[in-house]
Symmetry: D2
């Protein structure tokens, strides 16, 4: 993670977090641990907790040994998580790094809001909560990391696309060349997947209701078709729509015998799994990642990784370089908050342009080097 | 031009221009003539003039025979053009289709502004004039066609890119595979060119000062390098920057012996041609489209199509399908003006979203058919 | 495996193996088991053994239950394997399906050669043994499956290439876009890998001493460079040469700090692993598939999957479709042998053209369907 | 033409043609003139004639001024050409560079065969004549240039493909993205065209009766379809089959209204033009390169460049680099002949492997440089 490496050197000299406590809620694993080390090198007191079910206990041990305060462990449930959040807030952090608005939500319920200089929010889901549920109630700036155009470019198009395709190959042992895929949704994720499949000689149809995106798809050489035709004519159906029931109960009867269902959206709701499970005559797990559903009419339909994001559930998820970019955006945004930079409004807001430009410049430099 | 064909049928039934006079300033050639016919089919009285030097006289004859009033001919100079513009305005048009703000500028100098319902402007250059020089003085809406996202997608990326590459091959008879190209500028035009060259096995370096565009280029697999290195290491230098002197006097000494200079931007100023011509020991025209400059130090540098846009000056320009899209945007925008659609503000403004969506939808349909 | 499925129906009707015993030595896993079932459906008595270390014991049970005779189990060593081979031959097979010439070698040492009608050999290694060590001593035809042009096209170029790239992503969690790869060897495997990396926006240099292959590489848009430059300038080094010590002891000092070593050739000898291990100051296993070697001068070099074929050792190996093709070639070749087809010479020989054409036709049909 | 440039230096030093007369029949244009200069620099007396209709008279003047003997001019017909051939032979050449076996055929009819050391033949057509009509009657070696694998790689796949696509764009002003093409024939020419169209976002179907080539096409991601379906479903039909009437009389009724017919094979017979012309209700020339045929049922079918090779008749033909390669093969082959190199058999034969390797090596070097 060369971006974090460079930042560490710079922050050690500058110490923008000296005298500040940063309260963190984030998945605890080796890559986020590196970022915590960078914040600490910048002078911060670091107090953190993970998310239920993803905390890596050995990383917790290492973080504690390096002098940080960590709440929680992998085995924690919802109740323990709430207690961990309260634990972090009990240190009266000046700056927050939040994930799903957990810290902010708890903070608003309690006291101590006035002490906080501001923070960051990792996810779009959290940003939506801030904008809708907590709208107008947040007196400090929160920079939303996930909306940065850099993440769109590097993670969605160049990170998710290829890792979905490689996870497909690993999980199914099927070839891409000559196979017929339908990609539902031609946003940056869908476009990345469709282009990667085509580059590997797959035959790709695209379903996209938005006419401008559909024009982009058709000019890219994809067959743009209606949903029903896509379901009937293709072997692999990939959802990247961001919507529930993109493949709904009424569509299950249109699938080919042998069709393979894949979801790449954040939630597993893009395929109506409940109806799929309910209407199957039998279900067989062929492997950890492949289930075969025999339907009432005898057709067999395959579901990969239980409908969860294929590249995460069936592979290593986003590449390291993408994580490096996202965490560098975090560190520089937290620095801006800690320095009480003028011009930041209260409430959720995008990553400032100068940070995007700086991180992009550094990443271009790193990728052009070697 | 299937989009115009479909529009004709629809406007014949609707006749949104009945009783209206449309005053037009636009290049007069067969494709724009088709559009004039569509406007007339929609009930319009059509009065038009061309631009100096591009008017096709046989098309003028045909337009007149079909009952339109046409001012001007190919041989006209600046003075005659001004008279032609006045001629068009003398018909007291209700709606204007303008090119470079010629009609609007003349209108503001005279009287009759109050009669006009509104109009369209084809070019970005014209839009800039409207926004800067005539700002606040235009009491009616002007829809700027060239800023439509559809034109960006279809014309810049998928139209200009491939036609620049094919014109390069036709003009030079050189192969693209294994050749080293530097593309200066990674906007939609530069990106389209760079991708097309790479798809044909060229080796492509990109020069782009904006870090976010540079990140896109590097993640697309291009070498992102500084200008000086690009000039020293590549055989073909292609400007797509929109800026003057992207290759300036100080850069001419860095070019390889045998380097080929190509401009694809709207103005020929992206290469400092004046210095190039002044500093060459001799110049030889190898063909209509290729000049060889022998420099003082003996190096030979080639310039294609006198530094004018390669795909226009060395080929057929934008594909027919792209013209069809642009003219359909024109017709539907003029229709909105003629119908005094509520919600249009005075002054220059983008193509309304519903028109973009409709034209995109029709184009997807046309391109998916056959 | 649709090709095997179609063959089953046809052989059930024709029963070309009626009254014949087929002796088989092949990896015993689900896909080869399907082929055994097809042979049995064609009338054959099937007797088989696996290779040491790869036999799947549950598949053995299933094969026995379906009425075949199987020798061996996963735990077997070299001695047991020799006994298993003798066990198969004790059934006096009429037709042989061999792997690495194990059955033929044992047969030549004993008696019973005269009874055999002929057979097939799966591997190039086995074919080399037949041509060199047993040359002139084999009185019956042996069809060598692996030399079929179909395998070259489907397995080497379209099977190995993409699975190497997907295994790289899975094993390292690194991105391909913008990364610098050197591919050593531009045969069908190397070409498949290089093209797949480039299609995913990697930056790829090729090292290839043969000038005609090098011309193909350079016209494909790759940088063709010398070995030393390739080693010094790239982050990931991939061997696909078929030669020992393609990266030898003298090259280890040229590797970048952080270089990643990958082998995709059949033997792990393409990288001089012995010297690598001997000269490293320390070795750390970062995961099952990644080892980090700290060299005497402090550089760190990473080795994937202990230098074994990356797509096999770090992924699922060749796609199912490729296996289907290879096993269909097996079945049709064995059929030709069993029918004593005129025109087959004694000794090793390529798959007859009509079989290649038939299997290609069927595969095109299968892949065009759905 | 850097390869010829390098050869000139080498031959000036070596003078392998000293005391020899080389009799040449070849298209006389600037590029072949450069080669004649190289032969002369190598010590040869050069006597040449062109082919009827292609001789460039200004090049003839220049060649004569440099001291060569040239027969013929552009206006010559068949009779004058025969006289020119006799003129060349009257100089009693030691070595022949032939085109279509014109010199050899005339030589066999007269006397003087015994004097000739050998020669080269540029075309496959000439090679076929030598092998069939003159089989066994040629007492000296003739090296056939066009069969070199280098020409297949560089000219057919990387030269013809891209120039066909760029000529299509120039001649029609249509876009490639989203357009439906059928390519008839997936040899090296057809493959080059199909890949280039796909790389530019065209949608491409392939018709190929040979199952192994069809498998290559389908694994490359193309739709492999039958001829009738290809004709009915696509907008642009491109022949690259090498066979007469690939689109025959019986197929004309299957074409879409608006279909565009393109030939890229050496002879214009791949489309049944006679029937097309005979059965059209009317024919209109839209430009030099586009004819519109209105069929009896009202459909309009377009024919590009009168059915002649699109990249030659509608563009500049093969790239300069390809010519450089072919002419370097010529010079080195003539050198081998002139030096009476042992090992050359009488009659037509392929370019020796060492020449292919040397030219490939030089070309890789040239293309990797700059």
């Amino acid at each position: 993670m060369p971006l974090l490496g460079r930042l560490r050197g710079r922050l050690e000299a500058e110490r923008p977090f000296a005298g500040r406590t940063i309260g963190i809620c984030l998945h605890i694993e080796p890559k986020t641990a590196v970022m915590c080390g960078v914040l600490r090198a910048g002078g911060a007191e670091v107090v953190l907790t993970g998310s239920p079910g993803t905390t890596q206990d050995d990383v917790v041990v290492a973080l504690r040994e390096s002098g940080m305060t960590v709440y929680g462990r992998r085995a924690d449930g919802a109740q323990e998580h709430a207690a961990n959040i309260r634990g972090v807030l009990s240190h009266q952090p000046d700056v927050l790094l939040d994930n799903g608005a957990s810290l902010v939500e708890a903070l608003l319920e309690g006291s101590g809001v006035s002490r906080v200089l501001g923070g960051t929010e990792e996810t779009t889901t959290g940003a939506n909560l801030l904008r809708e549920k907590m709208c107008g109630r947040i007196p400090f700036p929160i920079i939303v990391i996930n909306d940065s155009p850099l993440k769109l470019i590097m993670e969605n198009e160049h990170g998710v696309g290829p890792t979905v395709v490689s996870a497909f190959q690993n999980v199914t042992n099927l070839q891409v060349p000559a196979k017929r895929f339908a990609v539902l949704g031609f946003g940056s994720v869908g476009r990345g997947i469709a282009r990667c499949l085509k580059a590997q000689h797959g035959r790709v149809a695209v379903v996209e209701p938005d006419p401008i995106r559909a024009l982009e798809a058709v000019l890219d050489g994809f067959a743009v078709v209606g949903l029903e035709r896509a379901l009937r004519e293709n072997e692999v159906l990939i959802t990247a729509t961001g919507r529930a029931n993109a493949i709904g109960a009424e569509h299950l009867g249109m699938l080919q015998d042998g069709a393979i269902l894949v979801n790449t959206g954040h939630y597993s709701w893009e395929i109506d799994l409940q109806t799929l499970r309910a209407s199957a005559r039998s279900v067989e797990a062929l492997s950890d990642a492949v289930e075969a559903f025999t339907m009432a009419d005898g057709r067999v339909v395959y579901l990969l990784t239980r409908g969860e994001m294929l590249n995460l559930a069936g592979g290593g998820g986003n590449p390291v370089e993408t994580m490096d970019l996202g965490l560098a955006l975090q560190v520089l945004s937290l620095r801006l908050i800690a320095l009480r930079t003028p011009g930041l409004e209260p409430g959720p807001q995008p990553v400032p342009a100068e940070i995007n430009r700086e991180v992009a410049r550094e990443m271009v430099d790193v990728l052009s080097r070697s």
